[in-house]
Symmetry: C2
Subunit: 335 residues, 2 copies
């Protein structure tokens, strides 16, 4: 068994503020509990929730580490009692409730998944949050079916680029919105059938045009605000609108007459506070449905930048700026 | 075969306005088309949609008769070609897209259902709209399961009184809101486990108290307006809010953070514009699940008043005033 140190380096939030409040500090290495594995982290995905946490706008759920970071790739360094699936040295990825910006993290083995063989550790670190989010929201909550139309707002985000690929892999038509012609071109390269530059084009009209007046069957929305009412307009009869964030406002006005006339379903979810058993079930479903597509090379996380561990502030600055796909922090070396 | 006259009496909307614009007029008797039956109407249920139509606020769907009336009971007077289920004289009830306030109405036989034997024609006339609406919205859209809690706004309306009975028949806990202590007492008599007088009590607090802080699993709402945000607060995790009207406003503000945190589903439907095939499937489901409960005497439409055909204005005045359960118009005599 490899030597596990008592302490590790971690990028922590020293106080609420801009990217510069992220600093490297010494922290105890966590111990894997019952049913947990200890992962020696190679890379960690950066998420908007980390930024909100840094700004003091996203309280850390009870029991979660205060070190930020919701997804990692790495190797199994140790196993807790009753954890039998993985062996030391296995390459894994995991969705975690915090602690990803540290050299080691402990996680229930039921939530870890094997690093799919075609992926680098950097690509693997950008996989869990997007894959869990898109699968749960688009396919489980939104029930996207082959032949249907999926509208994805923020088409070039980490989640957007995953939604395009999974939507296409499951035989849907995919239309996305993005904020520039360059982003729209990138979304099309990744597989979108149609990309709408929201700064010059109305997405409701574009969706109507693209679907012959029918509308989108599933809408994955992280925008909220005035998009909410427009989503109702852009939705097909029996359309499902799935809310995963609300960058433009949490308290929009809706139109109940449109909801009733079209029999719309408006729903949403938050991955982070989900109980471990629910995440484990999601992990099993993903391994069965999505992992084979990644193994076959049909779905690949899009990585915008790999930022050195010493410069966590750069990673946060990058996610707040222009990017296409995921930004990951390179925490350690592959053994 | 009974003699079918060429013309019939019908209560029609002479112009948009108050109850007094309803007048009896002579109209041609409709002919049953392919797969249709002609019903000699004994009684017609009065609905709020009829009132809106009278006021010019509810346009008649394309292809629907301009005579108001969305539900009837009566006997089969004739059958169209290909209509094989019913024979002349059979007692039936039917949900229709209009025409109920006339002595005869033609309807697809797949949408008509046998008048359950314990019911009078008056009770039967008050059954279809409430049964179809509650079944579709609470059980199909809302997926109410045994042991769950159902919150019904407008607990003493025709729909509310049916929702109480069906909720209890399917082993849910039922909590209702109503506007007076007398109405609350009536709702409890009909079977509600808890009735909240909304003019003196906050329903969010009452639901929380009743469910030990968990909230309602399914909320059937015809109120909208400021109730919408309060419904989100009153809902349990994974709660389903089903919108069937919006008496207090169609454009409420919602809270996406609450929706996401609780994984709520907000949906709704309109029965009237539903395609005939969808209504037929709903009718089959009702016959299988709800009709046996009515036959057994466990579920009985609550009838507030039976108004003579000559006084349709009285029926509309009654539904706009205080009432508990359905108001029906006595159109013809039982043969």
């Amino acid at each position: 068994m490899a030597q596990i140190p008592a302490t590790m380096r971690a990028a922590i939030i020293t106080e609420h503020g801009g990217p510069e409040v992220l600093q490297i500090a010494e922290r105890p290495v966590p111990e894997p509990g019952e049913g947990e594995i200890l992962i020696k982290v190679v890379a960690a995905g950066i998420n908007r929730a980390d930024v909100l946490q840094r700004m003091g706008k996203y309280p850390v759920p009870k029991g979660a580490p205060d070190i930020p970071g919701l997804e990692v790739s790495g190797t199994v360094a140790a196993t807790g009692s009753g954890a039998t699936r993985y062996r030391e040295g296995d390459k894994v990825v995991a969705l975690i409730s915090g602690g990803g910006y540290g050299e080691y993290v402990a996680v229930a083995e039921t939530i870890a998944l094997p690093l799919p063989s075609p992926l680098s550790f950097a690509q693997g670190a950008g996989l869990p949050e997007a894959a869990f989010t898109v699968w749960h929201n688009v396919f489980e909550c939104g029930s996207l079916r082959p032949g249907e139309t999926l509208l994805v707002h923020g088409g070039t985000s980490g989640i957007g680029t995953m939604a395009i690929q999974l939507g296409k892999a499951f035989k849907a038509q995919v239309i996305v919105t993005a904020g520039s012609d360059a982003r729209c071109e990138a979304a099309r390269q990744i597989g979108a059938d149609r990309a709408v530059n929201y700064s010059s084009e109305d997405f409701v009209a574009a969706v109507s045009d693209f679907t012959g007046g029918r509308g989108a069957d599933v809408i994955l929305d992280m925008v909220g605000g005035d998009y909410t009412k427009r989503n109702y307009e852009a939705a097909a009869p029996e359309g499902r609108i799935v809310q995963i964030a609300f960058l433009k406002g949490a308290r929009p006005e809706i139109d109940l007459a449109t909801m009733m006339r079209k029999s719309l379903i408006h729903t949403g979810s938050l991955l982070r506070p989900m109980p471990t058993e629910a995440k484990a079930e999601l992990a099993r479903n993903l391994e069965e449905t999505v992992w084979p597509l990644i193994a076959a090379g049909w779905v690949t996380p899009v990585i915008h930048a790999i930022v050195p561990f010493d410069e966590p502030a750069k990673a946060h600055a990058a996610i707040e700026g222009e990017h296409i796909g995921k930004i990951v922090l390179n925490i350690g070396e592959e053994d």
